[in-house]
Symmetry: C2
Subunit: 132 residues, 2 copies
Amino acid sequence: MNAPIFQRSHSIRDLAREFGITTRTIRFYEEAGMLNPARDGTTRVYSDQDRVKLKLILRGKRLGFSLSESRELIDMYEPSSNNLKQIKALHDKIEQRREALQRQLNDIRIMEKELDEAEERCIAAIQELKRA
Amino acid sequence: MNAPIFQRSHSIRDLAREFGITTRTIRFYEEAGMLNPARDGTTRVYSDQDRVKLKLILRGKRLGFSLSESRELIDMYEPSSNNLKQIKALHDKIEQRREALQRQLNDIRIMEKELDEAEERCIAAIQELKRA
DNA sequence: CTGCAGATTGACGTTCACGTAAACGTAATG
DNA sequence: CATTACGTTTACGTGAACGTCAATCTGCAG
C-alpha cells in the first residue's frame, strides 16, 4: 500500500510543495484560466497533465515570460482546433517564440562573456589587495 | 562638422529612441539609483558609460531579471571597492548569476525541443485538414 | 461530540515597473 | 512674438502577480 511512483492526481498542497510556490499562486493561475483542475466535491484535484501545465508556466516565468505568454505556450500543446487558419496562426506564434528564444540565447552568451570578464577583474583586484 | 561616430554624450531622447523605451523609463531607472547622468544645468547628459549601463539593464530585463538584480549585474562592472571581503562577495554573486544563466540555458533548450514537437503536431494537423 | 488541520471563496493590500498628466522652464524657428 | 519641441519635477494612476486575512466548510483523530 505504498504511494505509487506515478501518481495520477495531486493535491494543491503537494504541487505547491513540489514547485516551491504557494497554494494562492496555484489558485491564481486557475483564476487566470491557465489551469482547470477537477473537483472532488469542492476540493481541487490535479491530474498529471495539470502538473505539466504548471511546470510550463513556471519555466516560462524563469525565462521572463508573462503569464499570458506562458498561456500561449501551453496552448501550443493542444492543437485541439480543427480550423486551418487558427493552426497556422499557432504555427506563426511558435516561430515567434523560437526567435525570442534565440535572442535570449544570444543575450545569455553575451552576459556569460561579460561575467567572465567581471570575474577576471575581480580576481585581479583580490591579487592586488593581497600584495599590498 | 558631421556628427561624430563615437558620441561621448547623448540626450535622454536619443537613448529612448535608440532602445525603444520612453524617457519616463530612463528617469525611473535613475530614481532607482541605476543611472547617474551628468547635468548641463538641469538637463540630463548621458555618457557612453551610462548608455552601456542602460543596455545592461535592458538585457537583464529580456532575461527576466528584476531591476535590483540588474543593478547587481551593473555593480559587477565596477570593482571600485578596495575591501577584500566585498570583492569576494561580488565574486560569489557572479558565480550565482552564472548558475542562474545555466538554468535558463537549460530551460531554453527544453523549450526549443518542445517547440519542435509542437510544430510537428501543428504541421501534422494541417496535413490532416488538407486531406479531409 | 469536540477540536483542529487543511480546504475553499471572497475581498482587500502590496510591490514592481512603469504610464499619464499637470505645471513649468528654455531654446530654436517661422 | 507666438508656437513648437523638448526638457524638468511632482504626483497620482495602473496592470500584473501575487500576499494576507476573514469567514466558512469539510474530514477525521481522540
